[in-house]
Subunit: 114 residues, 2 copies
């Protein structure tokens, strides 16, 4: 995450800006939304999200791990089996995103909303 | 906005994904958040957001106009004076983002949250 996105123009760290900058990354809202449905294996998550390439998805998941929103669990080493899940605070973020989903269902349900 | 971000893997348009893809763009959550404080002139908005270059900000504002979240009002032609404001549905989106702000204030108030 870039510094400037989580700081005020005066250079002070701001938790709200930090949050907005996490969400304002391509695919991140989608990832939180999909994991809100329960834990997923990497490939499963990639398929459900659709269109996000594996490299980007892996990077995003790592960043979300770093900020404590996602956890990665190695279920089995060989053959490799890794699951991704929301942490408790990640689940709270998912819940906090619900009003936005409602907004979307209300205002963007036609493909051409304007 | 890219098609794939607003469609299910099966290719169906999904209003929730469409919403997530609007928010999942760099600076967009910041723009909605700042305009939640009231109408702003372009330069004023650029300064308050901080770090977003003018070209990107202009592009984002145009996209947000296209989806009916932001409105652009020409207050004066010469000297040019343009104001940006949230539309009523844009204001509802801002309100829908409040729980996310609370989440940030709760969990990211230390710069190193993990």
């Amino acid at each position: 995450m870039e510094e400037k996105l989580s700081h005020t123009p005066e250079g002070e760290y701001c938790p709200i800006r930090a949050t907005l900058s996490i969400l304002g990354q391509k695919w991140v809202p989608h990832i939180v939304y999909e994991l809100g449905g329960g834990k997923r294996r990497f490939n499963e998550l990639a398929i459900r999200i659709g269109g996000c390439n594996a490299r980007t998805l892996r990077d995003r998941l790592e960043e979300l791990e770093d900020v404590g929103i996602v956890r990665r669990k190695i279920v089995n080493k060989m053959p490799p089996w890794v699951e991704y899940d929301l942490t408790p605070r990640g689940r709270e973020l998912y819940d906090a995103m619900r009003p936005i989903q409602h907004w979307g269902a209300r205002y963007l349900s036609a493909a051409s909303p304007a």
